[in-house]
Each structure stands twice: as structure tokens, then as C-alpha cells.
């Protein structure tokens, strides 16, 4: 079993500051350790130098998109679990999100219980694999 603190850490990527902060609070209220990134580029730098087990990311951001994030995640080993959240309701966004193969997908706003369950499940999977 690898470092417990590391495997319990969830990375958050959202370019909307208030959404990012609210998710940080939400995960913290469930006792989870969170590392939040307002800029996707910063997350990619972090991921290149630190192990990431679970990342929760929006897919519709300025600059780097969620798709690019997943593409980079695929190159990492072990491969991080990705949970996608998006506020876009159109089918194209949904299709794009599905194409990148997330372990869970949420439309904003989402049900907190279901979201937290998905995050815990992803962490559990990462632990089992790790």
C-alpha cells in the first residue's frame, strides 16, 4: 500500500474560482484532502511531478481543455481516475466528456451525495490498484 495521505488526495481543476472553492469546501466537509487548481496548466505541472490518484475536472475551460487533461493523464502511470463535471448542457460537450472515458460524469449543479460517493469510489479503486 502506498502513502495513505497521497492516495487520499483529490485534485480539483476548474477555472471558475467560486465553483472551485465550493468544491474544495464540499470535499473537505467529507474529510477528504484536496489540492485545487484554478489553472489547468498548473495542475499538469503538478501531475508531472507528483502521483495523482483522482482528479475532478471541468472540461470546458479556457486554454487547456478537459480532453487534453485526460490525454496527459493517460500517459501517467498509474493512471489517475478522472471525474468530469460540466455546466454545458449540449450534446457535443457530453459526447466529448464521454469520449475521454471518465469514471463518473456530472452536470453542474450536481447532487452532493452522489458526487462524494463517486469521489470515494474512485479513491477506493486507486487504492486497490496501487
Amino acid at each position: 500500500m502506498s502513502n495513505a495521505v497521497e492516495s487520499n488526495e483529490v485534485c480539483l481543476v476548474d477555472d471558475d474560482r467560486s465553483v472551485l472553492r465550493s468544491m474544495e469546501y464540499l470535499l473537505a466537509s467529507d474529510g477528504l484532502k484536496v489540492r485545487a487548481f484554478n489553472k489547468p496548466e498548473e495542475f499538469l505541472v503538478h501531475a508531472a511531478t507528483h502521483p495523482v490518484s483522482v482528479v475532478v475536472t471541468d472540461i470546458w475551460m479556457e486554454g487547456v481543455t478537459g480532453l487534453e487533461i485526460l490525454a496527459r493523464m493517460c500517459a501517467l502511470s498509474p493512471r489517475p481516475r478522472v471525474i468530469v463535471i460540466t455546466a454545458r448542457e449540449d450534446l457535443a460537450a457530453r459526447a466529448t466528456a464521454m469520449a475521454i472515458g471518465p469514471v463518473a460524469f456530472f452536470m453542474k449543479p450536481f447532487n452532493d451525495e452522489k458526487f462524494l460517493t463517486a469521489v470515494r469510489d474512485a479513491l477506493g479503486q486507486a487504492r486497490d490498484q496501487g
Binding site: 467560486s18 465550493s22 469546501y25 453542474k108 449543479p109 452532493d112
Partner: protein, 551 residues
């Protein structure tokens, strides 16, 4: 001994009887036999026979010879015609009467001489039976046991006999041809899955092949007529089909129609019907003949195609019109998400009982800020419109309307609606962002199409009109003939999230108003005096110097 007058009378009566047999379609052998017996009765010792030319045109067939020995009849049946083939075969071949006074010496009888001798026949005079078109149908022959030629009475009997039997055989030939033709058409119709039908308007009757009865749902033995067939047409289309049909009857022309049939038990079929009128030589309508093709299967795939096209058109519209609504939805969902998350976090912290008042304060503060942000998004639609950096240009609204109608053309056709325009050609030009004005027009036209959707196709009308109002503003109105706006407050349709549509977000008209107001114009909605809704917007005319530049 009969008196000559009496004989005369019964001969005429006999002819009449035979013609009645012809008219009532009695079997041909019976008619021919009666003819022969009638002729034989007219002269002492006269024996007659009728041969029919077979369909191949080169052989004879037994017609009637009730007084000739059976052996003789059998021998002649199936004999070829030719230049030396007895009296009858030669008469048919040469198409002229052949008088053989002595069969025992005449060279034409070489092949039949012995047979004639056994049967006691000596003289044989044969005359070809011709149709009205002068085709050889057969021959009428008189036999005598003595060697002589025909007398005047026998010649006139021959004339009557060939005339009557010509009618009888000719009629039978025509009917045979008709039957064969009908059988062929029927065969073709059945194999092509066609309904084949004939309507006789004067007799109020109709005929249909089995396939037709199956398509229209008629029992095999039900007597048919035109009205009964028409009663199967879908009520929505019946009047139009009848009009089409009546027009064809009146003009003795053709008709073609694609419509639905409603069968007993409510089953619906799509059919294509093609027909034409048949007129007699006096120009009277005799019958209407036609075919009906069941195209339900094709129609089904056509409808699927139409559905797909509709979806495609919808996607195109979303791409054009929905961009803005989608981004508004996105903008709104962000603060709502933050509020929901913060509230959920606060509840969880409280449940765990280790809530830090500073943290709670922070969460509540964030929720207030995000609520305000959500409000700003709504208020900011106008700002979003303004944020659109697209350059304004000097526009002719009539031209923009024409472009927009082309864009929505497929929607209009698919939704079986009609848009007419009433353009003011001296409409002042305006200064505006073309794409935004187009968005306004598309939105109003789509709303109008939705408004007339529930009406029958013939009433799905929309009128787009331009005019210069009293203050010199350019006014565009989109008027539908639907059920109108809520009676109490038509203007309410411009409010945020107000929608009378099931799938509506209630954002379209909000954006429309923002665009128009950003352009310094106004937009209103009202119910038209008779029916339907009318949306109209006014835009100020561009400055005169700009207008001349553009022109």
C-alpha cells in the same frame, strides 16, 4: 302449306331471336346452331354449315352443322384454308364467295370428293363471314344433294346469315380480346402489387381487382361504387381528392393523387392513385379506370427521413440560435453549482459538529456572492449582447428578412407551413449587427412556426411584413394565425423564463428584446384582432449621410 307472309314473319322473328341471343351473350355455338337451323327452315332440302376461322388464321374450326353427318363434320374440323381447299377453305382464303355446283368434278374438292360422295352432297356454295373491319371470321355454306348453283332466294338467305353470324362471332372475338386484356392487366396489376379499378359513373357502380379490395378493405363480394371507394379516403383529404376526381370527370382528363386511406378498424395506408377517363365516340364519359399503389412502406421511410431532416434542421438552428442560450445556461449553472456545493458543505460540517464559525461565515458569504452573480447573469444578457464585438453595418431589413427566410426555408417546408412577405420597398435602412438581427428574426419565425403547428396544414400561415411607421422608424412584424398570446398580458412573453412552450426555456424572447434594445429599438407583442399573435419591432433609421453611403 304455310302462306308466304307467314313464312316471312317467322323468318324475321327468328332473326330477332338470334340477335337477342347475341345481345344477351348466349354461347356462340348455340347462336350459330340456331342460325343454321333458321336458314335450313327457309328452303326445302337445304343443309347449311358454319365454320369459324381459328385464332391462327389458317385453320378452320367447327362452328355449326346440325344437319351434316358427324363424320363429315369431324373430317372438316381443323382443316387448313387455301386456294384449293373445298368451298369453305377456299372462300375464307380468297375472301370471296365460292360456288361449286358439282363437288364430284370441281378441282377445289379433290381432297374432299370421296367424303362428299359418301355423305350424298353434290353442290356446295360458301361465303366468307366478315367482321365490320373486313376481317375473315369464318364461312357460311349451303349444301344441296343436286348439282346446281344458288337461286336468288338462297343468295339473299346467305346474305342474312353471314351478316348475323358476323355480328355474333365478331362480338365474341371482341369479348375474348377484352377478357384476355383484362386478364393480362390483372396479372400485371397483381404482380406489381397494384390495385386496378374501374368506376362506371352512369351506373353508380365500380369494379376492383382482389388486390384493390385488399388495399381498400372491401369484402370480396361487396358491390362497389365511386362514393364507397371515396369514403375510404382520410377525412382530412377527402374533399381535395373528390375535387380532383370531379375535375378529371368534368374535363375527361386524368387525375393523380397521393393521400391516406382509413380502413375499417382504423388502419391507415398511404396510397398513390392514378386514373383516367374513357370516353365513347359521342364524347360521353363511359368509365374511369385507374390504379392504386400502396406506398405505406415507402412513406414510412420517407417520414423517418423527414424526421432525420427535422432533427438536422433543429441542430442547425441550435448551432445558430442556441449558442447564446447555451452560454447563458453555462453562466448560470456555475454560480448555482457553487451555491449548492457551499450549502452541502455547510450542512456536512454542521452534522459533524466541528463547525468553525469563521468557515461557516465564509460559506454563507460565498453563497450570497454567487446568488448575486446569478442575478447578474440574467441582468447581463443585455451586456452579453453588447459584448458581441461584431461590427454594425447599414442594413436593408428587407434583404435580411429574405436571407433569413432562406435559412429557415427547410423548417417551413418540413412543418408544412407557408410564410408570405409584405415588403415596404421604401423602408429606411438601419444600422445594426446583421447576425443579431437575423437571430431576432429566426427566433420570432420559429416561435410563429411553433404557434401554428397544431393547426391543419392549410391554415399554417405566417406573414412577415415591413413598413415605415409614422415616426419614420423601420418596423418589422411577424404575424401568425395560431391561438394567440395569453389574453391578460401579452407583453409578459418577454419576461425571463416565461414560456408557454413545453420544451421552451423562456430565454429566446429575452435575448430578442435585449438585441433590439441594444440597437436602440423597441419590441412588442399583441394579439391580432381576428386570431393569432403579432410580434413587431422597430429600429431607428440610420443617419441620412450613412444611408447614402450605403446606397
Amino acid at each position: 302449306m304455310k302462306s308466304p307472309a307467314k313464312t316471312e314473319e317467322s323468318f324475321y322473328a327468328g332473326q330477332t331471336r338470334i340477335l337477342e341471343m347475341v345481345a344477351s351473350d348466349a354461347p356462340l355455338p348455340e347462336i350459330l346452331k340456331s342460325s343454321v337451323l333458321l336458314m335450313e327452315k327457309q328452303a326445302e332440302g337445304l343443309v347449311c354449315s358454319i365454320l369459324v376461322l381459328s385464332a391462327d388464321g389458317i385453320h378452320v374450326q367447327h362452328g355449326a352443322a346440325p344437319s351434316l353427318p358427324e363424320a363429315y363434320v369431324k373430317a372438316v374440323n381443323g382443316a387448313p384454308i387455301g386456294p384449293r381447299n373445298g368451298s369453305c377453305g377456299t372462300a375464307m382464303f380468297l375472301r370471296k364467295p365460292i360456288v361449286v355446283t358439282d363437288v364430284l368434278t370441281d378441282p377445289l374438292w379433290t381432297d374432299y370428293r370421296d367424303l362428299a360422295k359418301i355423305c350424298g352432297l353434290r353442290a356446295c356454295w360458301s361465303t366468307p363471314i366478315l367482321s365490320a373491319q373486313n376481317e375473315v371470321l369464318g364461312s357460311f355454306a349451303m349444301y344441296r344433294q343436286e348439282r346446281r348453283g344458288p337461286n336468288a332466294e338462297e343468295l339473299s338467305l346467305t346474305q342474312v346469315a353471314t351478316h348475323i353470324t358476323g355480328i355474333a362471332i365478331g362480338r365474341q372475338r371482341i369479348q375474348q380480346t377484352l377478357h384476355e386484356r383484362e386478364a393480362r392487366i390483372n396479372l400485371a396489376a397483381e404482380s406489381a402489387d397494384l390495385a386496378f379499378w374501374v368506376i362506371y359513373p352512369s351506373r353508380n357502380a365500380a369494379w376492383m381487382n382482389d388486390k384493390g379490395r385488399a388495399i381498400y378493405g372491401f369484402d370480396a363480394n361487396l358491390p362497389l361504387n365511386g362514393n364507397l371507394i371515396l369514403s375510404r379516403v382520410h377525412p382530412d383529404e377527402r374533399a381535395a381528392v373528390r375535387e380532383n376526381f370531379d375535375r378529371a370527370c368534368a374535363s375527361h382528363g386524368t387525375f393523380e393523387s397521393e393521400h391516406r386511406l382509413v380502413l375499417p378498424y382504423g388502419k391507415t395506408r398511404w396510397v398513390i392513385v392514378r386514373g383516367r377517363c374513357l370516353v365513347d365516340e359521342h364524347g360521353n364519359l363511359v368509365e374511369l379506370i385507374g390504379v392504386t399503389i400502396d406506398v405505406s412502406a415507402q412513406k414510412q421511410s420517407e417520414l423517418q427521413l423527414k424526421n432525420q431532416r427535422e432533427q438536422l434542421a433543429h441542430l442547425n438552428r441550435v448551432a445558430l440560435m442556441g449558442e447564446m442560450t447555451a452560454s447563458i445556461a453555462h453562466e448560470l449553472n456555475q454560480p448555482l453549482t457553487a451555491i449548492a456545493n457551499n450549502a452541502a458543505a455547510a450542512r456536512r460540517f454542521l452534522e459533524r459538529g466541528n463547525i468553525d464559525p469563521v468557515l461557516l461565515q465564509q460559506l454563507l458569504q460565498d453563497m450570497i456572492a454567487d446568488s448575486q452573480r446569478a442575478g447578474e447573469v440574467i441582468r447581463g444578457i443585455r451586456a452579453m449582447v453588447r459584448k458581441d464585438k461584431s461590427p454594425r453595418s447599414i442594413l436593408n431589413l428587407n434583404a435580411i428578412i429574405a436571407d433569413t427566410l432562406r435559412l429557415v426555408g427547410s423548417d417551413v417546408v418540413l412543418r408544412e407551413s407557408v410564410i408570405t412577405t409584405e415588403m415596404d420597398h421604401s423602408l429606411p435602412q438601419v444600422e445594426a449587427v446583421p447576425v443579431q438581427i437575423q437571430q431576432v428574426l429566426i427566433n420570432l419565425i420559429m416561435n410563429a412556426l411553433d404557434a401554428v403547428e397544431k393547426l391543419p396544414p392549410s391554415e399554417r400561415r405566417i406573414v412577415v411584413r415591413t413598413r415605415t411607421d409614422e415616426d419614420g422608424l423601420a418596423e418589422v412584424s411577424v404575424r401568425d394565425f395560431g391561438y394567440g398570446l395569453p389574453k391578460n398580458r401579452p407583453e409578459k412573453v418577454f419576461d425571463h423564463f416565461f414560456s408557454t412552450k413545453q420544451a421552451g426555456m423562456g430565454m429566446g424572447l429575452t435575448i430578442v428584446r435585449s438585441i433590439i434594445e441594444t440597437h436602440g429599438g423597441t419590441i412588442s407583442a399583441e394579439n391580432a384582432p381576428d386570431r393569432g399573435a403579432r410580434f413587431f419591432f422597430r429600429l431607428p433609421a440610420a443617419r441620412k449621410d450613412q444611408q447614402s453611403q450605403a446606397a
